[in-house]
């Protein structure tokens, strides 16, 4: 009974409040960020009442509520020749897969059961995981569930009985199938380095320091894997620059016939996917809830100025750190959309099959060789730091476009 209630509480906190809440905030953030990138103001006006003659807008955050209300009050239209049943269930599929993936992600360090009153705890339970499902084959399940997400777009596109929607569904399917291969292969390096498929123990293995100061996160052991994973996962979320399935300027997308909250579910589901991707990237490559110099094994200390001891302290601050990191990855994703132009369709396919896939394979072989040479991972980390420096060098000294002649005002 205790475990059931605990799982329910974890779901309410991590699934409903954090993930869906963050997804809702991201809808606002995306609009504000696009406005900022394009020198506009963006949504700032929705308000219910005024304080001192000025509308109480909360930086435009109330637009989330206003959008939600407007979606709910619109009429859901089902096209006459649409497949009624499949048309209705399609928006729910993406949500289901996203929420199931969240269940496997550890959002905080595990608590010893002695924190709780002994009478609550069932016999034989010693640790309470801050993770809804502590499953041994965690990362495999994440990949398996992730491959189901495409059904939403495919079914929605087909059931709408609209050629543009069908094209969107087909593009989504082709793109997702292509990038899944690279997505799975980029994670093999992480699996080999940490020797586990359980997400909680992958996070546990990312403790400690490299060279005495650098956190031993996946990003610093598998930099190429991290970059490839981020690209492939962005392609899976179908966002710009990979927004072929919903190119507004050409085919509008697989949700073309959807209206009202049915469309809202598709849209919010896409932002939920961003949150899931952020949480997954944090877990695998950013050390999850770990933060060296700040969170120790059973105490939290901010540069010695402030200390807080005990497992509860570690759990609370670990969860907070996880949420902040996830938010950071999500905002990186949003910024990508307003930084990069979109690909052409053949470029998407070529990038997936001819660039990401070979690079992922090379990454696997090099990583395997280095781990075989030195199982303590120290040679691997030297090589990885070299790769990171190479990335930095390419960004700083790489080819760039000649400066454009500014238009006169």
């Amino acid at each position: 009974m205790f475990l059931l209630i605990a799982t329910l509480l974890k779901f309410i906190f991590f699934g409903l409040v954090f993930a869906i809440g963050l997804a809702a905030v991201l809808t606002w953030m995306e609009r504000r960020q696009s406005a900022y990138s394009q020198d506009r103001l963006g949504p700032t006006r929705a308000h219910f009442f005024k304080i001192g003659g000025k509308p109480f807008t909360l930086f435009g955050l109330l637009h989330i509520a206003a959008d939600g209300a407007s979606m709910f009050f619109k009429e859901p239209v089902t096209p006459k020749n649409a497949d009624k049943f499949l048309f209705k269930i399609a928006p729910l599929i993406g949500w289901t897969t996203a929420l199931v993936t969240l269940a496997l992600i550890p959002f905080g360090p595990s608590l010893p059961s002695s924190v709780f009153p002994a009478s609550w705890i069932p016999e034989g339970v010693e640790t309470i995981y801050l993770q809804m499902a502590h499953v041994d084959s965690g990362i495999l399940i994440v990949l398996a569930i992730g491959s189901l997400g495409v059904y939403g777009a495919a079914i929605g596109g087909w059931a709408s009985n609209n050629r543009f929607a069908l094209l969107g569904g087909l593009r989504a399917t082709a793109q997702s199938v292509s990038y899944e291969v690279a997505l799975g292969l980029t994670l093999v390096g992480i699996l080999m380095a940490y020797g586990s498929t359980e997400l909680g123990s992958i996070v546990e293995s990312q403790n400690g320091l490299l060279f005495g100061f650098l956190p031993a996160w996946g990003l610093f052991i598998q930099p190429l894997g991290a970059v490839l994973f981020f690209i492939a996962a962005t392609a899976e979320t179908k966002r710009t620059p990979f927004d072929m399935p919903e190119g507004e300027s050409e085919i509008i997308g697989y949700f073309l016939e959807y209206s009202s909250m049915q469309f809202g579910l598709f849209m919010l589901g896409e932002f939920l996917e961003i949150v899931v991707l952020g949480a997954l990237f944090t877990t695998l490559f950013l050390g999850g809830w770990q933060f060296p110099h700040l969170i120790g094994t059973d105490s939290v200390s901010v540069f010695g100025l402030f200390t807080w001891n005990g497992p509860v302290a570690v759990a609370v601050s670990g969860t907070l750190v996880f949420c902040v990191k996830t938010f950071f990855v999500c905002s990186l994703q949003l910024q990508l959309r307003w930084t990069l132009p979109r690909f052409r369709y053949d470029q998407v396919m070529r990038l997936g099959w001819k660039t990401l896939l070979p690079l992922a394979l090379i990454n696997i072989f090099v990583t395997a060789g280095l781990i075989w040479w030195d199982p303590t991972l120290s040679i691997l980390s030297y090589v990885s730091i070299g790769i990171i420096l190479l990335f930095v060098l390419v960004v700083i000294a790489g080819p760039r476009r000649p400066p454009q002649v500014a238009h006169g005002h």
């Binding site: 495999l140 491959s147 997702s176 199938v177």
Partner: protein, 180 residues
């Protein structure tokens, strides 16, 4: 009979019924898209059966390979079929007599095995993770069969590309060489 009804039996029956219902849907649906989705239900039911039998790795692989891979490709193929507008007759039944004979023979054989074989029921084991064991077996004692199976699949893949690819005449190649 009633004292044999255990919680696991109550769990098993809905999973099995779901699987069988999916399989029936594949066989009896007139609409080929619905047949594909019934296949989805059937595969998901099998995932449940594997999980029920504590084969967590097999359940995940079933989900990843069949539901996430093969069925997506089947759906892709169906959606690209030309005559999809005629949904009513997209999955016609034919050869009912031969099929019926085959069904009777098959069911007799299967039921014979089910009731004739002395099944031994072991004591239920506590749930143990199987991923690591299977991984070690694949890359340890069964390395050669594993690699040979991989080569076989690669050969099949290449053969499928050769069969599916349209041969281009030299003139066509001159005309539109490059990306489609």
């Amino acid at each position: 009979m009633l004292e044999q009804v255990s919680p696991s039996f109550l769990l098993f029956v809905p999973i099995a019924l779901f699987t069988v219902a999916g399989a029936c849907g594949v066989a009896f649906s007139r609409n080929i898209v619905y047949a594909a989705f019934s296949l989805l239900a059937c595969f998901v039911g099998m995932v449940g059966l594997f999980a029920f039998l504590s084969a967590d790795f097999l359940a995940v692989v079933q989900l990843m390979v069949y539901v996430g891979g093969i069925l997506v490709l089947i759906l892709f193929a169906i959606m690209l079929t030309n005559k999809i507008s005629e949904v009513r007759r997209s999955n016609p039944s034919s050869n009912i007599v031969m099929g019926g004979v085959l069904m009777i023979v098959l069911i007799t054989a299967l039921l014979g095995v089910v009731f004739g074989f002395p099944w031994t029921v072991g004591a239920p084991q506590p749930f143990a993770a199987t991923t690591e064991t299977i991984g070690r077996a694949f890359l340890g004692s069964y390395l050669l069969p594993f690699e040979v199976a991989g080569l076989l699949l690669l050969a099949a893949l290449l053969a499928a590309v050769v069969v599916a690819r349209k041969e281009m005449t030299p003139a066509e190649q001159d005309g539109k060489g490059g990306t489609p």
